[in-house]
């Protein structure tokens, strides 16, 4: 029997084996990721705190819009959302620009390139707790090395509290304007930490650009900057687009970096840190969920764009 229709029975047994092999993963993902996210939606509409959790139970029908009203009226949330946006946009942009510069500089091989390339990835792979601790020490106003040399070599009048000062006056060309010090510091950290990711992708893409088209441009008299502008950049744009969305998604809900650097103080309270504080310090599950949900809704748009535009198509049928 199986000899007469081997194709059909093989396909059928493959389908069964496929379901069997994937189901452990599917169960874990559904129970630990999908359902919890859906459950957050329910929590966001309920007046729930850690204290009354036992009394009210995990599931209830006491739905209300109070949490969202409080979130929007209490103040701080919208401001925090703006901070998150500024942080994600500027962090993403500077990481990609830095990664692009690094990729272009390391493009042609030289002695020791392998080592430099590996060193370039260190910020990305090192434990976030360790690197934030080093940055905090380096930027410390009392004994940090940055302020030590900044005051001696760069002529700073006094040490700069990079991570605890909300804003500082900077005069440039006779113009005085305020700069959000702490926010810029965490953005600089974000660029430092995630540029290797952009660098890796752009480097891989650069090496796939056929040398012939650039040679042709050179023969036609294009200078290096023109070759970059008219030959390389168009080749890199799709990769830059993917990177922008990916990095934006990850920076938008990143928690560790800011929590560890500033604790959310000095004008750097992004929404994820705020959610954490509402959850642990205030124990207000409802309010924490409501804010997480707003964050998720914005994020869903970008994830949607990413999946719709860039998700790998099934190449086989």
């Amino acid at each position: 029997m199986s000899r007469r229709k081997p194709q059909v029975s093989l396909a059928r047994s493959d389908a069964r084996a496929g379901i069997a092999l994937i189901s452990p993963t599917l169960v874990i993902v559904i129970f630990m990721v999908v359902l919890p996210i859906l459950w957050t939606v329910m929590l966001a509409f309920r007046p729930l705190s850690l204290l009354n959790l036992i009394a009210t139970g995990l599931f209830g029908t006491d739905f209300t819009l109070d949490n969202f009203r409080t979130v929007l009226n209490e103040g701080g949330f919208v401001e925090s959302l703006v901070t998150t946006l500024a942080y994600s946009v500027l962090g993403t942009a500077s990481a990609i620009v830095m990664g692009l510069v690094a990729a272009l500089a390391l493009r042609r091989s030289f002695r020791g390139r392998t080592f430099v390339r590996a060193a370039m990835l260190l910020p990305y792979v090192a434990p976030v707790v360790a690197v934030t601790f080093v940055w905090r020490t380096m930027l410390d106003p009392q004994f940090g090395i940055v302020n030590h040399w900044g005051t001696r070599l760069l002529g700073w009048d006094e040490p700069i509290a990079f991570l605890s000062q909300r804003s500082s006056e900077v005069s440039l060309f006779g113009l005085e304007f305020g700069v959000p010090t702490a926010l810029f510091s965490v953005i600089a950290f974000e660029a430092w930490r995630s540029f290797p990711f952009a660098f890796l992708f752009l480097m891989a893409r650069l090496q796939a650009v056929p040398a012939t088209i650039e040679e042709a441009a050179q023969v036609d008299g294009a200078t290096p900057s023109q070759r970059f502008r008219y030959v390389l950049l168009p080749q890199l744009l799709p990769t830059i687009a993917v990177l922008s969305i990916l990095r934006f998604i990850w920076t938008f809900n990143s928690f560790d970096d800011i929590y560890l650097l500033t604790g959310g103080g000095a004008g750097t309270e992004v929404v994820s840190v705020r959610v954490f504080n509402f959850l642990t310090a205030r124990g207000d599950i409802g309010l924490a969920s409501a804010q997480a949900l707003v964050l998720a809704a914005i994020l869903a748009v970008f994830v949607g764009i990413f999946l719709w535009r860039f998700a790998p198509k099934e190449e086989k049928t």
């Binding site: 084996a17 957050t40 959790l53 060193a119 434990p127 020490t137």
Partner: protein, 309 residues
């Protein structure tokens, strides 16, 4: 006079080369040629210096650091390794107990690697090779899960694990880690399975091998490089993870991982910064060792999706 009229013509070829030397192309070539090395040096400094500074502070004495904060090296006679014994020894003997934290981190990270591979390998094989109902949707679901990490799951998982009493246990954390990592793990492994020619499996099937036999005898051994890379990748994620360790384990010092321990102790005034720098080195070194051992494998894994973009 004749010499005067001849002079310009003698200079002409010289002038021409000077013109060529100052064309836009030549200028750009030279500027970028120099700029390239400046950029490489600059990038090297900003990426490596923080790690150098970490190691440097960990072997200096605290009062020397306070006296001379700008020192860029330490003379061999001043090297002080007391910070390491202090950070490693148990709290009972006046240390910070990082040895216990390291054990916890190792247990969680190795457990996460084992469990993730156990679940993800069959899953990745199925998604790559077998035609079954909903396969495409499952791939998209996993990609979405990969892009939707962290803080959004913090609230429900925190509440749920508090309620069932598993918060504060390493097992609870392990389950959370596996659930977060398994999707990306499958994604990476699947890309590798896709590159293994199917003809190898077909010939094994002709020799009478069943699906599981094919998977066990042909596909897994062939995918070994990817499996090793994936294991290292998962280990690094679990070893570095901070948010859920903080949410789940903060109450009980005995359960702290190295990341959590360092972050909790970093706020305290009594512990010298140099001792905590030693803690940072201890936290970072395993990752850097793994990374340099497997750099090529890992970067290939990380950029697996790059060409598709």
């Amino acid at each position: 006079m004749a010499t005067q009229t001849r002079q310009p013509s003698a200079l002409e070829p010289h002038k021409a080369t000077r013109d060529r030397r100052w064309t836009r192309d030549a200028v750009e070539n030279r500027v970028f040629g120099v700029l390239r090395w400046v950029v490489i040096a600059g990038l090297l400094v900003i990426t490596v210096f923080p790690f150098y500074y970490m190691a440097l502070l960990s072997v200096r004495a605290l009062d020397e650091v306070l006296q001379d904060a700008g020192a860029l090296w330490v003379s061999p006679s001043e090297i002080n390794l007391g910070t390491y014994t202090s950070v490693l020894s148990s709290p009972d003997s006046g240390g910070q107990g990082f040895l216990i934290f390291m054990r916890n981190s190792a247990v969680v990270a190795l457990g996460t690697v084992a469990l993730t591979l156990l679940v993800a390998l069959p899953g990745a094989y199925a998604v790559s090779r077998l035609e079954f109902f909903g396969r495409r949707q499952i791939s998209v679901l996993f990609l979405a899960v990969y892009l939707f990490p962290g803080i959004l799951l913090a609230v429900p998982l925190f509440v749920f694990f508090t309620r069932i009493g598993l918060r504060g246990t390493l097992v609870g954390l392990l389950i959370v880690y596996v659930s977060q990592i398994v999707a990306v793990s499958i994604y990476m492994l699947r890309n590798y399975f896709d590159t293994i020619p199917e003809s190898l499996e077909e010939s094994a099937a002709l020799d009478g091998c069943g699906r599981l036999g094919i998977m066990w005898r042909i596909s897994l051994p062939l995918a070994m490089p990817a499996i090793v890379a994936n294991a290292l990748f998962v280990f690094m994620i679990a070893w570095n993870e901070f948010l859920f360790a903080l949410l789940f384990l903060v109450a009980d010092r005995e359960n702290w991982t190295v990341s959590l321990g360092l972050s909790q102790l970093a706020g305290s005034i009594e512990i010298p910064t140099t001792v905590l720098m030693a803690g940072s080195v201890i936290l970072t070194v395993p990752i850097i060792v793994i990374f340099f051992l497997s750099e090529r494998l890992l970067t290939e894994g990380l950029t697996a999706g790059a060409e598709k973009g």
